[in-house]
């Protein structure tokens, strides 16, 4: 696999089939359906329980905006991933171009997927720390 910065985006070429399939799973992985824990994490409260008015207004006005933002990011990524549709055997030597203007959508969708997977599977801090040890330069907060 090669990652090259192009004028108009980031190109991932010679994709490994396994990685290609992982990328294709991003939109599905970020789904919070049937997972109250994931929903609580993705749409966390803006204030403590003592601020009922703020929480009520948030639910009414802000939550729909956030839902739109997250859905839009996932749809953008899903559209980019159409470049990888097809037979798994054809992934070799296939390229994925992520346009620069889609970078924020990718960051958002990837983060949705990571948070949803962690919440859905109830990973412990210890289990997540294993990831930190293996990737010491990319530790979580």
């Amino acid at each position: 696999m090669e990652i090259c910065r192009r004028k108009d985006g980031l190109e991932i070429s010679e994709l490994d089939p396994f990685l290609a399939e992982l990328l294709r799973q991003i939109p599905a992985s970020s789904s919070i359906e049937n997972s109250p824990a994931a929903k609580r994490r993705i749409f966390s409260a803006p204030a403590g329980d003592e601020h009922k008015e703020i929480c009520a207004e948030w639910k009414l006005y802000v939550l729909p905006e956030l839902e739109r933002l997250f859905r839009s990011a996932t749809e953008t990524v899903a559209a980019d991933l159409e470049q990888l549709s097809g037979n798994e055997k054809t992934f070799a030597n296939r390229s994925l171009l992520i346009p620069t203007k889609h970078a924020d959508a990718w960051l958002n969708a990837l983060n949705q997927a990571r948070l949803t997977i962690a919440a859905r599977n109830d990973f412990s801090d210890g289990e997540l720390a294993i990831t930190i040890d293996r990737r010491s330069d990319q530790g979580a907060i």
Binding site: I42, F43, S44, A45, P46, A47, G48, H51, I54, V62, E65, L66, L69, L107, N108, N111, Q112, R114, L115, A118, F123, D125, L128, A129, Q138, G139, A140, I141
Partner: protein, 123 residues
Amino acid sequence: MICEGGLHRLDREPRGSITVVSTIAVTSSTLTDPTIEQQNESEESLDLSWQVVVHNDPVNLMTYVTMVFQRVFGYPREKAERHMLEVHQQGRSILWSGVRERAELYVQQLHGYLLLATMEKVN
């Protein structure tokens, strides 16, 4: 993006009291001494006592959180990293304090980046 200077200016908004010149009495025939009414507003009524808090999250990456602080608050990298490490080591960090509406906006932006953020009233 909000520059750091802008944020500091907001932080330095007058706290305590402000003076409002509300009435200058002028009659049609004679010019009388102007009547100046002074209105004092307390810090509480100005509602400057909210803070934006980001809480520890074992999933979000350090580099990502630093980037978000830079983007949302316009903080330079060093300051953003200090706040990120404070979240990591102490479980939370106060990123900003000021008026409620601005705090709500910041919390909304932070939630847009999927950080665990809340607004709290300062006691």
